[in-house]
Subunit: 243 residues, 2 copies
Amino acid sequence: MKSTIPESGMPITQPDRQEASLHGEILLRLRDYVVEGNIPEGARVPERQLCAMLGISRTPLREALKVLAAEGLIELLPNRGARVRELSERDLEELFDVMAGLESLAGRLACEAITDEEIAAIERLHYEMYGHYLNSDMHGYFQVNQRIHESIVAAARNETLRAAYDSFAGRIRRVRYSANFARKRQRWGEAMREHEAILDALRRRAGSELSDTLFQHLRNKRTAAIEHLAAARGATTATVAGS
Amino acid sequence: MKSTIPESGMPITQPDRQEASLHGEILLRLRDYVVEGNIPEGARVPERQLCAMLGISRTPLREALKVLAAEGLIELLPNRGARVRELSERDLEELFDVMAGLESLAGRLACEAITDEEIAAIERLHYEMYGHYLNSDMHGYFQVNQRIHESIVAAARNETLRAAYDSFAGRIRRVRYSANFARKRQRWGEAMREHEAILDALRRRAGSELSDTLFQHLRNKRTAAIEHLAAARGATTATVAGS
DNA sequence: AAGACAAAAAATGAATGCAAAATGAGTCTC
DNA sequence: GAGACTCATTTTGCATTCATTTTTTGTCTT
């Protein structure tokens, strides 16, 4: 049994992370594999090839593919196999808006339950992020920024919300990998100010206000991201067309 | 190699949702079957029995079960089969809050794109609902109420949001079937007033305000629903315990 | 008689097999 | 020479089969 698993493309990460069953393990690995952008957009992914790569039979793989399709990461064309779902500009706009709505909700709920310690932790993250901003450390800034938003979602004390948030985040993350969201200096400064407003509303536990501020903040992010991505795609398209 | 990209613009994914394939058909039927509450909470659902009922083999059924599990309708215990997911009081609170967040978002987005005709249609629904309210027609009221909220979600012009909304609505609907949400007269009147406020904000395209009003409206709904359900469950538990 | 152990029965998880549809190549026609 | 048609190959969808795990049942011991 164990010896039937050959050296596949991806190493067996952990015996049981949470899903002891094979299809669960496959699901986690495949999801990561797709989210990390290892398969080009719209590319056809033959089942056999994935089976060989993962060292399993088609049954659990197909089960995992069905789930990923339900999650919106891939799409299954009848009798034509699985493709990585292409995200149009409109899809991205929609996804960003939903994410904004979820975070806006998270902020509102967080105000009802967040502790002073949690707020203090977020404040520390905020100052850490400010340091990265001053140093023009985009990567560090981005990471801490992510942690702040995750902290807010965590403070909402709503596992259902967190799961949905993670799911949508995964759908966007795949794009983030391809197009690195280099941010304009000006927008960066605005973002910092917005973060201060967020922190302020959070301190006062002003749920409605925080909800609003968070939504606007993410809306601005959306605009910047979409613009950047459109430019990147335009360039890519031009290159392809020119070749 | 040259034309490996057939229709990269937009594959044929809309026309046939998933009814063509067997597993898609099974998925739709099973989802309805579970959502409508045909299987008691926490009940074990033998695969064989379902296969016999649906007249198929286990393979497509298991694929559908995996998807339903991912949607949160059922849970799959390793080596112990599928069970209809039991929703704790906390789960319901979380679900209601997420629904409130999504509708709140829908209202905000709707203000950006809704047409006068759509608003007029919602106003008509509102007055129709008011009639049901005056006639104490709970069922009619409930249905029209649902249509109003769906109209707002539709007006948001965000398919991703709509899909998420439908998914979460399905998870709650199963409970709605078991426990009929008889509403207290007083709360009913409050709900009508809230609806008027919603309509008012919508007319003025006041996004932030509508977002806030919708959230509060659904929060109040949540409280009423949870209380009612807790009472119903308490009664059921008592009956079971007494028998 | 009650509890524990063991074997049989059933159910689940995964692999394999088979039919139908799609893809691709080769040939034929115009 | 280009396009269309036909047939072989590949791939997908589903059913069936095989191997574990769980559950049940029956017996034995205390």
